[in-house]
């Protein structure tokens, strides 16, 4: 089976966000594999081990993205592709990303493409479904279980807490939700092997794309931090009095009762 994983690097969850001149300041920030993409990598490994085949991890990023790709290779992916847009693209959006990936997937004959259901930075959740549509293959988002039998696929999908049981077929794109699996940590031999696994670097020229073909449809005008919240009030006194005070504050000051 020809398996692909779409990977994005994101800020570490614990990272403090600072804004400089309407942009997120990322100097010195720790980057990780988007946590939902880890479910995608793990599931790709499970499926490859069950059905044979090869896993290619694809990311769009800059030269620093090699770190996250090597981690995916150390987990067990076979090959990695970095589409480096640092020199060519200033401000892409989800349209841009999907168009680049469409060009990359031309002639690739993917059986299964896995992605995270959302990236924790911009949280649009668009790229997976957009790409599936461009490639003309079906997709299922927020999956929590995947079983493949020949070309037949049975999936459990999380729908706001309910579970849908879905039947579909390969080729297919899925986006992964928490609960699908427990991503493994790279093993030491895995890390050693990853250093020698193939990592191909491409630019959008190599995909026969011009900047114009992938020009963003949306623009970011500003980025800002939420207003500093006034320090909360921790109530004092007997518990019964605190409760009375709380209810009065909610009713009279905040008018939410």
């Amino acid at each position: 089976m020809n398996i692909y994983v779409l990977l994005k690097k994101t800020f570490d969850t614990e990272e403090k966000i600072t804004v400089q001149g309407g942009r997120i300041e990322d100097d010195g920030a720790e980057f990780i594999i988007n946590p939902y993409d880890e479910y995608a990598i793990e599931e790709a490994i499970v499926q490859r081990d069950a059905h044979d085949g090869e896993i290619t991890v694809v990311t769009i990023g800059d030269e620093d993205s090699e770190k996250q790709l090597r981690t995916a290779l150390a987990m067990g992916a076979d090959k990695a592709v970095l589409i480096n847009t640092e020199e060519d693209l200033e401000d892409g959006d989800q349209f841009t990303t999907a168009k680049i990936l469409e060009a990359y997937f031309e002639g690739k004959d993917a059986d299964l493409i896995l992605a995270g259901n959302v990236a924790i930075d911009e949280a649009s959740g668009q790229v997976g479904p957009r790409l599936a549509e461009l490639l003309g293959i079906p997709y299922v988002t927020t999956i929590t279980s995947l079983s493949i039998d020949g070309a037949a696929v049975s999936i459990e999908k999380d729908v706001e807490g309910d579970v849908e049981v879905i039947e579909t077929s390969l080729p297919l794109l899925v986006t992964c939700q928490q609960g699908l699996n427990d991503p493994r940590y790279p093993s030491l031999p895995g890390i050693m092997k990853a250093k020698k696994k193939p990592l191909e670097e491409l630019e959008i020229d190599d995909l026969d794309l011009d900047e114009d073909d992938v020009e963003a449809k949306t623009k970011t005008i500003d980025i800002y931090l939420p207003p500093e919240k006034e320090a909360g009030k921790v109530l004092e006194g007997e518990i019964a009095d605190q409760v009375k005070e709380l209810v009065s504050l909610l009713k009279n000051d905040k008018k939410v009762l």
Binding site: V140, E167, I221, G232
Partner: protein, 324 residues
């Protein structure tokens, strides 16, 4: 020529979800004099749902009823909506940022080669142009976005843009359209309902959420009682779900649901960053926790340091008094 905006509504158990009414209000904010065309899909008759949509601000409604629209699939809904778009050539589309909205809108946007600004919590006007505000980095920052061309496509986060008052004196056409929905490659075989009955968590005005401090499934009982008195819903932190005190359907946080109720009462929740990502934009936050050092007190408007099993029953009594 004035704008024509499609608002895709969601019908669940024959009722329109509240976020769909909010989407109509959002469309009016985007363009005050736009013609608003509602779109409703189901395997049932939608005449009365259509009228409900008009009472909430739509100028007309197009309905598609087909047996293959019983359960949502991106392909089934996509076929119906793309045909309507083809016929009406709207300038934009607004929908709720729900499970269906998140799944469907990127497909439509991709087909239309359009931009899509998702999870919008507020709309500002810069002259005639709309500017969309959405949270990023799990609510730790916000971005203002706009479209490069003149096609608008947004999904709105539930509970942020108020719906218009219902006005039953409004009138408009509800037109049933025939669309053949066929060749579906994904089929929903079964839906296992796990989300609790009653108030929908993502649309609730009041949420009482429990964490590990609740200590057991039984410990959630007073939380349900409090939620009932407040007309709200019960939620939970990941810790409480992992410990099996409640179903994952209730989970609020980075994974799980993102909520913005008017009142969020966090009970026995420490306030891990992943939990804050799901609720920190709530309008008023109350924290009840034994540990005064809990991080949740840093985001709370009001805190009570104490044993929840002592505090909650008192709170229920006191609220009953002021509500009486």
């Amino acid at each position: 020529m004035s704008d024509k905006l499609l608002v895709i509504g969601e019908v669940r158990d024959n009722d329109i979800r509240n976020v769909s009414f909010e989407a109509i209000a959002a469309a009016k904010q985007i363009s005050a004099d736009a013609e608003i065309v509602g779109v409703l899909l189901s395997d049932n008759d939608l005449t009365s749902a259509g009228e409900e949509f008009i009472a909430h601000g739509a100028d007309s409604v197009i309905t598609v009823t087909h047996e293959n629209l019983k359960e949502y699939t991106s392909e089934g809904y996509g076929q119906a909506i793309l045909e309507i778009i083809d016929e009406l050539s709207p300038n934009g589309i607004v929908m709720g940022h729900t499970s269906i909205g998140k799944d469907l809108t990127p497909k439509i946007a991709s087909r239309l080669s359009a931009g899509l600004i998702s999870d919008v919590v507020d709309i500002e006007k810069d002259g005639d142009d709309a500017v969309y505000i959405r949270p990023i980095y799990s609510g730790k920052a916000f971005e203002k976005k706009a479209f490069e061309d003149d096609f608008t496509f947004v999904t709105i986060r539930p509970n942020n843009i108020p719906a218009l008052e219902k006005d039953t004196s409004r009138s408009g056409d509800v037109t049933a359209k025939d669309v053949d929905i066929k060749d579906l490659r994904t089929i929903v075989k079964e839906v296992v309902r796990k989300a609790s009955e009653g108030v929908d968590l993502s649309e609730a005005n009041v949420i009482v959420a429990g964490g590990r401090g609740v200590k057991s499934a039984d410990g959630f009982k007073p939380l349900y009682e409090l939620a009932e008195v407040l007309g709200g819903a019960v939620g939970a932190s990941r810790g409480a779900c992992d410990a099996d005190y409640c179903d994952y359907a209730l989970q609020i946080g980075q994974t799980g649901k993102v909520v913005t109720p008017d009142l969020y009462i966090a009970v026995g929740i420490s306030g891990a960053i992943q939990h804050l990502a799901g609720m920190s934009n709530s309008k008023v936050i109350v924290a009840i926790n034994k540990d005064p050092e809990s991080n949740i007190f840093n985001v709370a408007d009001y805190g009570i340091v104490g044993d929840l099993f002592e505090v909650i029953p008192l709170l229920i009594e006191e609220i009953k008094k002021v509500k009486a």
